[in-house]
Subunit: 321 residues, 2 copies
């Protein structure tokens, strides 16, 4: 048995690979089999993380395992889907048992916290990268797409923005910060919590939703385009954490929130009448703008003045040719 | 819009990305949505191909696109699943429009030939690799697993074996061959035809099935282990193509068939009473052995003599540290 077959057996024995709800057949055959309840549909999303592009080579494998699955699961939250399962395609330059153990530990913790079962994948030799495909279920017609935003809707987000982008200089060892600040920001970068419960609560309420990966402005652009509306973001209403504003100052913190990316917080539109119910249910929902007729995205300040920047959006930390 | 976003739009506009049967929502949102008919289950398989490990750097992108999807779809055939959809995670060192166009063309042809719709994925920068995840549907309880082989069953394969392994020295430009031989062998390597119709026909008939990727002996080992039986392979009954035996000679052709891998031909076990129906339906089915009580895999010659080799199984063409 080759090293890579041993790794497959290692993952097959992981706690998160033990059969979960909806998993008819897990790792070990030509295909996994999932059961989808009558009246429900299967939601699917795929994310690839490449060393040197999405994470630094020296990063902690425990944190990498956590983060990779969290990023993928966040797409299920954005769709209002109930998590079912995931596959892991892992490409490794060599077989390092300590690395694998730590990676699997982080993966397991996030899988269990998200109720996701590992049902298959592939393990190959090559430059380090991971492709996660996640599966969820959602009642037919109730998935949260990007295309239903209507003029008059509020634009909301599910929590503070910019922390992960603010953490990037810490991740890359380009800056240091006081321990409590570093801890708070790095936690958002390495262990984002997919807002799965919020996604479920938004079914039948939100008119459009996504998870913020490219930065609020760029992602609002996706909603504006898919829905055929204009999204107006209020710069002065952005929820910013105290660690972020302390670390970066207000202006840079706002920029991190608007254009930093990697938040994996939900952004969504909904009629104003739906807001009270979400707040009463205990969700942290912040109104950060509104939907109007038109197209594109505009940024205004608290006085209603247009302050739209000329460029925006997320770049991976080293996405250069 | 960045180069990689342009690529995503390029794939979203591909013919195979236009909505197919069972595809409720395709590329462009946080998740794709698939509908699974009541009483059916979803079959899922993931395969990664890495440059320098699974294919040479200089390979034709058209052929790579074809082959990558065929290899993945073959797992659906092995499960007896009806193809539905696939996702593509493509990691590219740079953006080469000619390369992408040719790759997408090959991908499209195979997708259409397999009735698979492209519903999502990810495109990132990094060393060239592809991860395909394929989805099919199968009536509950009718999937062909590896675990049902019983003593007394026949061992069968769905076509000639060894051609793809025989093609490897041609793929790597280590040898040359007469044009008609090269053409025949390379076609099996670059454009394996997933045996989807055979897989469907085996539902309710085969007791175990898989597609041969690691070589017949190694893959029979998987059936033996999962089913708790011994699989006896008859070396003299192996179906070998004329181009292969001409190119390699009989002994090396047999070795390619037994241990070469990359065939993507179905191997399956079934009661002898089921054979006539498959042959009458026009399927190319070859009896190459039988299932007995015990464990492991044995190789015999036509006289019943044990000729089991001491080592077996597939190595990627350059899977070295």
């Amino acid at each position: 048995m080759g090293e890579f077959e041993l790794i497959r057996n290692f993952f097959a024995a992981a706690p998160c690979a033990q059969t979960g709800e909806g998993v008819v057949l897990g790792i070990g055959d030509d295909c996994a089999l999932l059961a989808v309840p009558p009246g429900e549909q299967l939601a699917i999303s795929t994310d690839t993380l490449v060393v040197g592009v999405h994470f630094p080579e020296a990063c902690d494998p425990f944190l990498l395992g956590q983060r990779a699955l969290a990023v993928a699961a966040s797409d299920l939250a954005a769709m209002g889907a109930t998590p079912l399962a995931f596959t892991l395609a892992l490409t490794l330059p060599d077989v390092d048992p300590d690395w694998l153990q730590a990676f699997a530990h982080g993966l397991n913790l996030m899988a269990q916290s998200c109720s996701l079962s590992l049902v298959g994948g592939d393990t190959t030799r090559g430059p380090l990268s991971l492709t996660m495909t996640v599966f969820g279920r959602v009642p037919a017609g109730q998935a949260l797409t990007r295309s239903g935003a209507r003029p008059g809707d509020l634009l909301c987000v599910g929590g503070p923005l910019g922390d992960a982008a603010g953490a990037l200089p810490l991740v890359l060892n380009q800056r240091s910060a006081e321990a409590s600040i570093a801890h708070a920001l790095l936690a958002q970068y390495w262990s984002p919590q997919p807002q799965l419960a919020l996604g479920l609560a938004l079914r039948g309420k939100a008119t459009a939703a996504l998870d913020i990966s490219d930065g609020l402005l760029a992602d609002c652009g996706h909603i504006a385009l898919a829905s055929g509306v204009r999204v107006v973001v209020d710069r002065d209403a952005l929820p910013l954490s105290a660690p972020l504003t302390t670390f970066l100052g207000l202006e840079a913190a706002r920029n991190a929130a608007l254009s930093g990316g990697d938040d994996y917080v939900l952004a969504f539109t909904l009629p104003a009448s739906q807001l009270a119910g979400l707040l009463a249910a205990g969700f942290s929902v912040h109104v950060v703008g509104r939907v109007v007729a038109g197209q594109g995205v505009a940024l205004i300040d608290g006085a209603g003045q247009d302050v739209t920047p000329s460029t925006r959006g997320y770049q991976h930390f080293r996405e250069t040719p």
